[in-house]
Symmetry: C2
Subunit: 211 residues, 2 copies
DNA sequence: TGTACATCAGTGAACGCGCGTTCACTGATGTAC
DNA sequence: TGTACATCAGTGAACGCGCGTTCACTGATGTAC
């Protein structure tokens, strides 16, 4: 005996329940729920190497095998997750710059603050973006191009401040320094960190030579 | 029937072999082999979360239960591994500074190069040093003080260059920037990285204001 | 309008594997008498 | 000097667990006739 529930599960009389299938053509709904579940789990651990297919299925509330309906393996799911996260980070940076007005230094500083804020507010997700070594080789190429446009946007502001010639070098400094800042701040919580805004601004000034 | 081998195993007639116990008082020998095996495995994966007790035992060539003779759990083993690695990293930095002579800028630059070289030559081990979140709370306190003396040594050189007052801030920049540099270089291999020595030296100059 | 069938979306049992941990054990080496 | 015994260093079988993956299945929804 099966009884239809109002929302999206079917009770089977004993304790177990069964998800009622999506309408025809709405199969993608579960796909989205899978990605969201993976994001929730990764936000806690920050470690892609320990994410399991069964744990994701459990978090969604679905049979483990149902994951295969939407992803061939867990690396495909991770690629999707990373792509979404990179876009989120890039968007954060972008919005920060747009809110800052036309001055290149103000824009650069705003981007730095945006980047750092994202990483510190969501340390688990931030770590996921940069944990490529776990990906199997077949997804490596695609993953490695993530973040290029964001780098290029920063480079343009940097170029306005230090010149086109050294802009690649200085933008690289920026990227490595902000990345290290986020990773170490969220990892070495007992270290006597300087006040965050002071640290980001002083770092930015020094890197572009505005002391 | 058991036959004594010349080195350190005993053959049991069939394919299996048995390690001949260490002499009385030499029980610490296996402890060292366990740490070395863990280091070999971690050098490949760089991920403490996926290191298993059984894999370590297999690498040593010993029964899984033998690990318990020397470590209460895997976190204790990891703490030992991390402590040894931090000391290695600090020693590398130290030696680089000593080889550089008395000038503070030269010493600072040498330390930076030493730090970065260590990280790039042994990316897996470098990652292990900074992967604290995996440690269970009971070992967290101890782990977090690792590296303090190394920071202090760098700070003294920085103080000679930028003054005592801002030395903590600038040394923090140094640490985060070099950490990010190592992590991203070993992780994002497809990025068009600048020439290594140029990058480190330019970064150092900018951080201490010697452009 | 009715009905047989195809398709879509998801399930659940079963497999073999590696894992951490327990337990009683083995066998060589040293020591007390 | 001989011998019984304690101790040290390490083993191996067994447990229950979570994992990825396979396979045949279920049952609602749409479609052809």
């Amino acid at each position: 005996m099966t009884v239809r529930r109002t929302i999206s599960t079917v009770s089977t009389g004993d304790g177990s329940s069964r998800r009622s299938p999506a309408r025809r053509g709405e199969g993608e709904r579960l796909r989205g729920e899978i990605v969201d579940a993976a994001l929730r789990l990764l936000a806690e651990t920050g470690n892609t190497a320990t994410l399991s297919l069964r744990a994701v299925a459990r978090e969604v509330g679905v049979a483990a095998t149902s994951i295969y309906l939407h992803f061939p393996d867990i690396d495909a799911l991770l690629l999707e997750v990373k792509t979404q996260l990179s876009e989120r980070l890039a968007r954060t940076e972008c919005m920060a710059a747009d809110a800052a007005g036309p001055d290149p230094f103000d824009r650069l500083l705003a981007m730095a603050h945006g980047y750092v804020r994202f990483g510190i507010e969501e340390p688990g997700l931030y770590h996921v973006i940069f944990s490529s070594p776990t990906l199997s080789p077949k997804y490596l190429q695609m993953g490695s191009y993530i973040g290029r446009e964001a780098f290029e946007r920063v480079r343009q502001e940097v170029a306005a401040l230090v010149g086109e010639q050294t802009s690649h070098l200085v933008t690289t400094h920026f990227w490595t320094a902000l990345h290290g800042l986020v990773v170490l701040r969220t990892t070495r919580t007992r270290f006597p960190w300087p006040e965050l805004d002071t640290e980001v601004e002083d770092l930015t000034r020094r890197l572009v030579g505005r002391t």
